[in-house]
């Protein structure tokens, strides 16, 4: 295809089904890009010595999508050579070791997509209205990202 036809696209999705690294990478692949950079956020099985049985995610979906679009817009301003961006976040129950978020970015050369992926995950953690509940054997806990400026830092 002509480069003019390879219009930069943002692929944003919140879904309850298992996320696919293959699917997300393929969304951003472009014949004009030599690099696809990827971040996969996976779920750990322990926190402060407690065994995590399950994780559940919920979202203010309409605003989460809006905030994710803002992140994509910011990425394109900071790294104009970025071609496609995909951010998939899982909602509902996420079993341990499965991916809760996958971010993929393509660019002609690797520096931009690597930096853009890091910016995406850092900013998502600071601004996208999604909440994670960790369920332990005897209790549960709503997690708070340290990037969230309205969380209390002391517990």
């Amino acid at each position: 295809m002509e480069e003019s036809e390879d219009v930069p696209k943002d692929f944003i999705k919140l879904k309850s089904e298992k996320l696919s690294v293959d699917e997300v990478s393929e969304l951003v692949v472009s014949p004009y890009c030599g690099a696809v950079s990827l971040f996969i956020g996976t779920t750990r099985n322990n926190f402060e010595g407690k065994k995590v049985i399950n994780l559940e995610y919920e979202a203010y979906t309409s605003m989460a999508e809006t905030e994710m679009k803002k992140i994509c817009r910011d990425v394109r301003q900071k790294w104009p050579s970025v071609k496609h961006i995909a951010v998939h976040h899982r909602l509902g129950v996420v079993p341990i070791t499965e991916a809760s978020v996958i971010i993929a970015v393509s660019s002609p050369h690797r520096a931009e997509s690597l930096e853009a992926v890091m910016y995406c995950i850092d900013t998502l953690k600071a601004s996208v209205p999604i909440w994670k509940k960790e369920i332990y054997e005897d209790e549960y806990s709503w997690k708070e990202n340290k990037e969230c400026f309205w969380a209390n830092s002391e517990k």
């Binding site: 995610y57 203010y60 309409s62 953690k125 600071a126 209205p129 999604i130 509940k133 709503w142 309205w150």
Partner: protein, 110 residues
């Protein structure tokens, strides 16, 4: 060209109101609760009647009147009003009927 005496028709909501009157006029907003705030309030969404012009802190206090258990998270929440984050404080909100107001506990996406 409209003559100076002619004005556009205005709807009933605007008739008789002045900028200073906002506090006495109320409107129905959709309040959305998430995560811990949904557990404390016992529900995920409802319609509340609140003053149209109100500070974000006053709006919080209106909501806590309805759901007193929310008081314990006051220092850890922000609002999202029409999907823009608003801190609890002196910021004056001008609400429209049907506006979405969400209680946003500390986020943990990603």
């Amino acid at each position: 060209r409209l003559s100076p005496g002619r004005r556009r028709r205005r709807g009933p909501a605007a008739e008789g109101s002045s900028p200073r009157d906002g506090g006495s006029m109320r409107c129905q907003v959709s309040v959305l609760y998430f995560a811990r705030s949904a557990e404390l309030a016992g529900l995920r969404c409802e319609t509340l009647s609140v003053p149209r012009e109100i500070t974000s802190l006053q709006l919080w206090e209106e909501i806590v009147k309805v759901h007193p258990r929310l008081a314990i998270i006051r220092d850890q929440v922000v609002f999202a009003v029409r999907q823009e984050y608003v801190l609890l404080g002196d910021q004056l909100l001008v609400l429209q009927p049907g506006d979405e107001v969400a209680i946003i506990p500390p986020i943990s996406g990603g």
